[in-house]
């Protein structure tokens, strides 16, 4: 049995199984993420990376195993989902900004609704997180007026405004061209440097190698290999060697 590396782990998955009908997507996944650690999950499309993130955030329910996140027992049917949401931020590939709200309103919505913050406080907070992603000037704009990279940075700022203890990123740069990818990765790198605990699914191998404290290679719903970024230079398995070699 898998034992948590440390009782202080922010995220701890133990023997997690998840199927969609007959399709086994997570097949006994276990890993821990400690405070301030950056974990990058890599792997072929369909290997279960997104599903793993979604399970961590209780967007999917698991059939077997346990998931602990910031002290919440996520696998427990009695989970207080809204309490979990306060501790975990997630950013998706498709940004999912609210199109009818300005950048600032997008960011202010959750603090005012969920934390009952006043409009003025929330506005100040919005300016603060926008500054962190370098977009103070865009507060009054609507999402459709921004580039993809800018929209994704707003989505990150919107999550940050809830002051999460853990950030999840699911292929947040996959829809962006290389130039815009760079500006989003820079924001994520500065978050990591600031001590944020993060799990990111990514195809940016160079970024994973440089920023991640742990890289997890998933294959067929399993943690196939994991280790520090340097593991990518010396793959232990045929599958990872093939994956790294394919230049993805």
């Amino acid at each position: 049995m898998h034992a948590p590396v440390s009782a202080k782990a922010v995220v701890s998955l133990s023997n997690v199984h998840k199927s969609f009908g007959a399709l086994k997507v997570l097949d006994g996944v276990s890993f821990d993420v400690g405070p301030g650690e950056v974990t990058a999950i890599i792997g072929q499309s369909g290997s279960g990376k997104s599903t793993a993130l979604r399970c961590i955030n209780a967007l999917e329910t698991i059939q077997e195993g346990s998931i602990h996140v910031c002290g919440h027992a996520v696998h427990d049917p009695a989970l207080d989902r809204r309490a979990l949401r306060r501790d975990v931020g997630i950013v998706f590939q498709s940004y999912n900004l609210f199109p009818h709200l300005t950048v600032e309103q997008n960011i202010m919505l959750a603090p005012t609704c969920v934390k009952s913050m006043s409009k003025a406080e929330a506005r100040e907070l919005a300016r603060e997180v926008l500054a962190r992603v370098g977009l103070e000037a865009k507060a009054e704009q609507y999402p459709e007026q921004l580039s993809g990279g800018q929209q994704q940075r707003v989505a990150i700022a919107r999550s940050l405004a809830m002051k999460p203890k853990l950030m999840l990123f699911d292929e947040v740069t996959s829809a962006l061209d290389p130039q815009l990818t760079g500006e989003v990765l820079k924001v994520m790198e500065s978050l990591a440097a600031g001590g944020m605990t993060m799990i990111l699914v990514t195809h940016e191998m160079a970024f994973a190698r440089r920023v991640a404290s742990t890289v997890i290679y998933m294959h067929q719903g399993k943690v196939w290999e994991s280790g520090p970024g340097s593991m990518l230079d010396r793959p232990q398995t045929e599958e990872l060697r093939g994956f790294v070699g394919s230049g993805l």
Binding site: N57, F98, L109, Y142, Q145, R158
Partner: protein
């Protein structure tokens, strides 16, 4: 054919016509607001309610959409009276129109709700918003915005259809006209005037909806996108 038009006999009745216009506006404005609330709640119930709620809404919508408005009006008017509750003809008219337009609103708004991407709901959920907050802040405005032209047409139709409530002698423009033509024996002229007044009313209602849309759908206004 040598019909001599004489509109001058109608001139002394301008006050009655004006009152009729005003009553029709009030009647349809009230029915529009209440019908929108009813229809929107039904649409949410149908999209997100328990199986019993979904079934109830679906039944309501089908029954209303497949029976004549006039019959619905009679049913409400005489039905309520049978229950021993006294309501004025105008009250009965409002209730019947609300029930009627609520069903059509439900179908239109439902299409709008379906057009809001599931990822939007998930994003709101992940930010910690409750279901009610999500509907209010994230779903309803874009949904209604998308079907706003269809809603506008439906409520213009409602205003025109309100003329049929004259059948239970509700006070509105057509009822006023009925009285005037029986006083003056100038039926053709009276209904020409009434027709023109309804035309103007339609224009006013459309303009009002356009203006309201400009106020509510701020992004459209700021980005200059047509409704």
């Amino acid at each position: 054919m040598t019909y001599e038009f004489d509109f001058s006999v109608l001139l002394p009745f301008w006050r009655e016509f004006a009152t009729g216009v005003w009553l029709t506006l009030q009647l349809s404005a009230l029915a529009t607001v209440l019908g929108f609330v009813l229809g929107t709640l039904c649409a949410i119930g149908r999209a997100d309610g328990s199986p019993a709620v979904k079934w109830a809404v679906a039944t309501y919508v089908e029954v209303i959409r497949n029976t004549p408005l006039l019959v619905q009006i009679f049913l409400v008017y005489f039905g309520i009276a049978t229950l021993g509750v006294h309501v004025s003809a105008n009250m009965a008219a409002v209730i019947a129109l609300v029930v009627n337009v609520g069903a059509y609103t439900c179908e239109i708004v439902r299409a709008g709700l379906e057009s809001v991407h599931k990822a939007q709901l998930e994003a709101a959920d992940c930010l910690g918003l409750s279901r009610v907050q999500t509907y209010w802040h994230v779903v309803l405005r874009p949904a209604v915005e998308r079907v706003y032209p269809a809603l506008t047409s439906q409520y213009v139709l409602l205003m025109l259809a309100s003329s049929i409530t004259s059948q239970i002698s509700a006070e509105e423009l057509t009822a006023v006209a009925n009285r005037i033509q029986s006083d003056t024996f100038r039926s053709f002229e009276t209904y020409i005037v009434v027709g023109v007044l309804y035309l103007l009313l339609s224009f006013v209602v459309r303009a009002a909806f356009w203006g309201f849309g400009m106020v509510v759908f701020v992004r459209r206004r700021k980005l200059g996108t047509a409704l």
